[in-house]
Amino acid sequence: MTTPSLVLELKQVCKHFPGVKALQDVDLRLFAGEVHALLGENGAGKSTLVKVMTGALAKSSGDIYFNGQNCSFASPAAAQQAGISTVYQEVNLLPNLSVAQNLFLGHEPRRFGLIQHQKMQQQAQQLLLRFKLNIDVTAPLAQYSVAVQQLIAIARGVAMSAKVLVLDEPTASLDSSEVQMLFDVMRQLREQGVAIVFITHFLDQVYQISDRITVLRNGSKVGEYLAADLPRSRLIEAMLGKELQQLTHQAATTTPAVAEPLLVLNNIAVKGSISGVSLTVAQGQAVGLAGLLGSGRTEVCRAVYGVDALSQGEIQFGGKTLRLQQPADAIKAGIALCPEERKTEGIIGPLSIRENIMLALQARRGWWRYLPVKQQQQLAAFYIDKLQIATPDADKPIEQLSGGNQQKVILARWLAINPQLLILDEPTRGIDIGAHAEILLLIKSLCQQGMSLLVTSSELEELVAFAGKVVVLRDRQKVTELSGDTMTAPHIMQAIAEG
């Protein structure tokens, strides 16, 4: 491959879900024999883009050119047939089938229409040796560790002898020697002219292996760069963005210095995720959690809300030690959480706005004390008015609202029970700019009313605008704490990037 040729080109691709614009006019160019890193924060649209590219999702508009021809793949099978194979973020293999069956599913060696099991097993063994895996290929996949399964998934992609290989977070569950092995195989494939799309949130790895970088943010393309020309700091800037500056230039909310601490995390750890995180949230204070995807932001929120059990450390709340077995315990104590995954963990799609709002209040009252419909209607009307939720009436199913309005409904759900601590995990993700500003203003006014907040956000300017203090996480550990004059977006960025 002397002159790199354009293998896959995406032009102005859009993908809309009800209430969310997941992709907005995204372009992507993919050349033969290159490793192309696709970067962006959580929710930037990377996974959606991959799914559109590989036929798992239909695009809403735009064009996809494969080898110069305009095409769009109806299914992953069609894309695979054409030579685009994908290793998805979560291991998408079949735990009940054998390793060999997983590797060759749909491509089994056959004679007279019958699968040749022995030949298939031999080929599987040989293929895995490239990854220095010497395992029993007849055993069910479920028997092996996630790392091995991930390598098997990659081996499957390689076995398809694809023209385009898409690796979505392939290294998340691999240790460093396994990562190096994977990179060796990727280099081999690159030499053979395969175009590789590499998605990761490990920036070190990006610079180790990639030739070209495309950055996405909020479903749009920020830019395409040559890896050699893009310093790390500019890359992070591109990923996190600065566009909110004009909205949130006001100074941080000043908290009275004497405020009592409400939440104290004392060196908490969760098995298999965060470790050694300590922080304090004072009464009426907003504390920001900053860090890249996978840094442990969400995991801290989940631990405080009682979703994941602590393996170490303790949570003190209002001076007492909390023992959380489940989120219901946290709610009882006065802790609320707006989750990052609004669609799957926040809203209950087919239920109406009113029903979504009253969920937490009803849960607190218990089964037997049903909230009268009239009171529910008053409550819904109150919050629709107060939070300016754009809807004709309270009985519309919440899934028909835009992302920003959905978020307001979730906020109303928690405001209805007036929690002492409100945890907001990426409250402005996937929300249009107008609703964005309103939610930020709401956060500020809640603080002034004395509610404590713990907020994660990838938008650093946004954090700086309302937080009294920002805690920076990296590799699932706390790195530093910034407040006062040192709490600026560049400082936070630096703390995130230093590795």
Binding site: S75, L97, A142
Partner: protein
């Protein structure tokens, strides 16, 4: 892990041998080829239906319509032969493609509209049973030289055993289904769908084609079972096979197939049907127990096996949990 996969199968086989041994020890003539061959010929229709049910359940679905399809195909066959004077083979040649269409319709509904197989095949059950009753409310007797020939076809085994047409048809179908499940891509796809249909789709499995084919096969096998049932009764009756879909499901589960799909063996289902048959034979030999004791014992067995399934799948759940924490 390997042994865990086969564990329910071994337990069923061991129970079968144990019960057979006890029967042979208690009663003269129990442990004989005559009893064994009767097990097959008396249960041939159930065995055939259960083959299809195994496929459906491994793929993660269920087919409640098979009992009614047995009745419909039996009534249709006997009417065509007795009232319209069709040759039996010609009647079968009409019935089987119609059954395939019926299965395809259910498969399409399940796949295209993402409907629960339970409710779609329940609708299919009412439809087929209703059609059968509309065709004839009375039992329709079959008098045809072909049926006499079928009844005489076969060979004797030592000790009073007899391998007849029904048993032979079943054995041929069993071999075909085993080859299909373990030596064809389609078979792997069936397991793949039951393992995780989303992953299967992302891996390029033709989900639509496979789903439809699974229900076509199940309906065709049920129609064949209905035909074999007419060999046994020399008649077609609209109320035949009521509840047989449940017997088939019970046999599949007792044979070690996971109700959640993805894991199981056709041969286990055969053992499941035989175990149910041996229980019945034992009760007949005993003479003092009501035949309903068969149901009681099968009920208890089912309880035992679903608890066993749960315990086994909990191990798998642990692996998945480990997986998701490592991912988070």
């Amino acid at each position: 892990m390997m042994s865990v996969r086969y564990l329910p199968l071994w337990i069923t086989a061991a129970l079968l041998c144990l019960l057979f041994g006890i029967g042979g020890w208690q009663f003269d003539g129990f442990a004989s080829l005559a009893v064994v061959s009767n097990l097959f010929s008396d249960n041939a229709f159930l065995l055939i239906v259960a083959l299809g049910m195994t496929l459906v359940i491994i793929s993660g679905g269920i087919d409640l319509s098979v009992g009614a399809v047995i009745a419909l195909s039996g009534v249709a066959a006997s009417l065509l032969i007795s009232q319209y004077q069709w040759h039996p083979l010609l009647a079968f040649a009409l019935i089987l493609p119609v059954a395939a269409l019926f299965g395809a319709l259910m498969g399409v509904l399940i796949h295209v509209y993402k409907l629960q197989p339970f409710i779609v095949t329940l609708a299919g059950m009412f439809l087929a049973r209703g059609l059968a009753t509309t065709l004839s409310e009375e039992s329709v007797a079959i008098n045809h030289s072909f049926y006499d020939a079928i009844a005489e076809f076969g060979f004797a085994l030592p000790g009073g055993g007899w391998v007849g047409a029904s048993t032979m048809i079943f054995i041929v179908l069993l071999l075909l289904v085993i080859v299909l499940m373990h030596y064809s891509r389609f078979g792997t796809y069936v397991y793949a769908l039951g393992g995780n249909s989303q992953s299967a789709e992302l891996m390029g499995v033709p989900v639509a084609r496979t789903t439809i084919a699974i229900y076509v096969l199940s309906s065709v096998l049920a129609a064949l079972a209905g035909i074999v049932f007419t060999f046994y009764t020399f008649s077609g009756y609209a109320l035949a096979g009521v509840g047989m879909e449940l017997d088939a499901i019970a046999a599949v589960v007792i044979g070690g197939t996971l109700l959640t799909g993805g894991s199981g063996f056709v041969i286990g289902t055969v053992l499941g049907v035989l175990l149910m048959g041996v229980i019945q034979t034992y009760i007949i030999f005993d003479g003092s127990l009501s035949s309903w004791w068969t149901k009681i014992v099968i009920g208890l067995l089912l309880f035992g096996f679903i608890v066993l399934q749960k315990l086994l799948s909990r191990r798998t759940a642990l692996t998945t949990a480990a997986r998701s924490t490592a991912h988070g």
